[in-house]
Symmetry: C2
Subunit: 244 residues, 2 copies
């Protein structure tokens, strides 16, 4: 039997039926606090419960495209958003309807407008990661992994620049790290470090129009550099508990 004959005779229903969804962990920083986008489910299962935005992949659509579409449906923004694949979850009973494998995505964006509830969602809102409601499905586990990944990526990639505007000050960048890592950083050392990592930021030659709202001199403005990896990396303050 040739390859083409084989494919004609092939019966797709011979394989167990599985549905594939994408779920997006969209992060932004509001008021110095890391927030995640959640939607209130309008229909069973878990009707009324908050969950990560997501949905079934469509025929002819790649996984990345599906994730970008789901995110755009909730935020209205596809621009200036960094999105990357995270992990997949396929416990047999993770969805009461049927066998569903979920591919999770992580997205980062600068200060975003209020989210729009998508078609099958009752509501959508940004939640501070320290004030989360109980989530549907295994979404708490997914979110936990996503936060750890985000914290880790900040160490060795210039990802933090995805949370700020086109141009930014070193302090703005520092506040991103502080929000995601959840700990204050030593400002002078942070400043030295950022400027010493090749390709992380480049000076625009400009400064802010005025000092900060509570005083202080005008700050120099920078834009993202061309580095894809930070070397040497910015390491998080000690986390003894995670090592063993």
């Amino acid at each position: 039997m040739s390859e083409s004959e084989y494919l004609e005779a092939y019966d797709p229903r011979a394989f167990p039926a599985v549905a594939v969804t994408v779920d997006v962990v969209a992060l932004t920083i509001i008021g110095g606090v890391l927030h995640v986008l959640l939607v209130e489910r309008g229909e069973p299962p878990y009707a009324g419960r908050w969950a990560l935005p997501g949905g079934f992949i469509r025929p002819g659509e790649d996984l990345d495209q599906a994730a970008a579409r789901e995110l755009a449906e909730e935020t209205g923004m596809a621009d200036r958003v960094h999105i990357e694949q995270l992990a997949s979850y396929g416990a047999p009973d993770r969805d009461p309807r049927m066998r569903i494998v979920s591919v999770s995505y992580l997205a980062f964006a600068p200060d975003l407008p209020d989210p729009q509830a998508g078609s099958d969602a009752a509501d959508a809102a940004w939640y501070g990661v320290d004030r989360l409601p109980k989530l549907a499905f295994d979404h708490e586990q997914i979110l936990g992994h996503a936060l750890e990944r985000a914290r880790s990526k900040l160490e060795y990639t210039p990802l933090a620049t995805a949370f700020v505007g086109e141009t930014f000050t070193i302090s703005e960048l520092r506040r991103v790290y502080e929000a995601v890592w959840g700990a204050p950083l030593h400002a002078p050392n942070f400043h030295r470090k950022i400027l010493s990592v090749p390709g992380f930021v480049e000076s625009t030659g400009e400064t802010t129009e005025s000092g900060g709202s509570r005083g202080g001199p005008r700050a120099r403005l920078y834009r993202a550099g061309d580095a894809r990896l930070l070397h040497p990396a910015l390491l998080r303050p000690e986390r003894e508990e995670e090592i063993r």
Copy 2:
């Protein structure tokens, strides 16, 4: 409509039919060279072409379980094998049969016996990563991601100990790093570094029975410590090209 009523009325066929497979990138070190396990496909599509071992997930089986099962079918070993999820691939046309989403896994093992060809494979063999045949599907892309992940994980986790036996010498550990990173390391500095990272290795108090085959004193033996993360990390020699 209550949740239970909803679930009874639910029609799984309302969602697009997708099949989910797991593909395993199994790595080991043979003769100081990193090798990957490949199987020769016995049936279309890509009959006769080499591919990563893998297959469809079964009903009631978690993704991790499916990956471990596929690996065991080819190697006969489930013991002493580290396995972890890597990424998922779902381009609509990546398999000519139907829409297939593949969840890839990365596995590491010490020197393994010759592989067994599984049910639907014509043959199975270890290939040095520098002498690979042309692979089926998008498996070259998957393998590329897997190798990069493996190289990266060696930096900040004690993963290298999964490639050696229960007890090992510092030199054996160094040869793992050299094989995976594909570059020679400065032996004295490596030695100093391994012993200075808390929890990476612990001494057994023993030494090898004799010196190396080409001479040299007996080496001290160590076993894996209790660290889950290496701190500070072991960094790869400069890789300027990957930074920008």
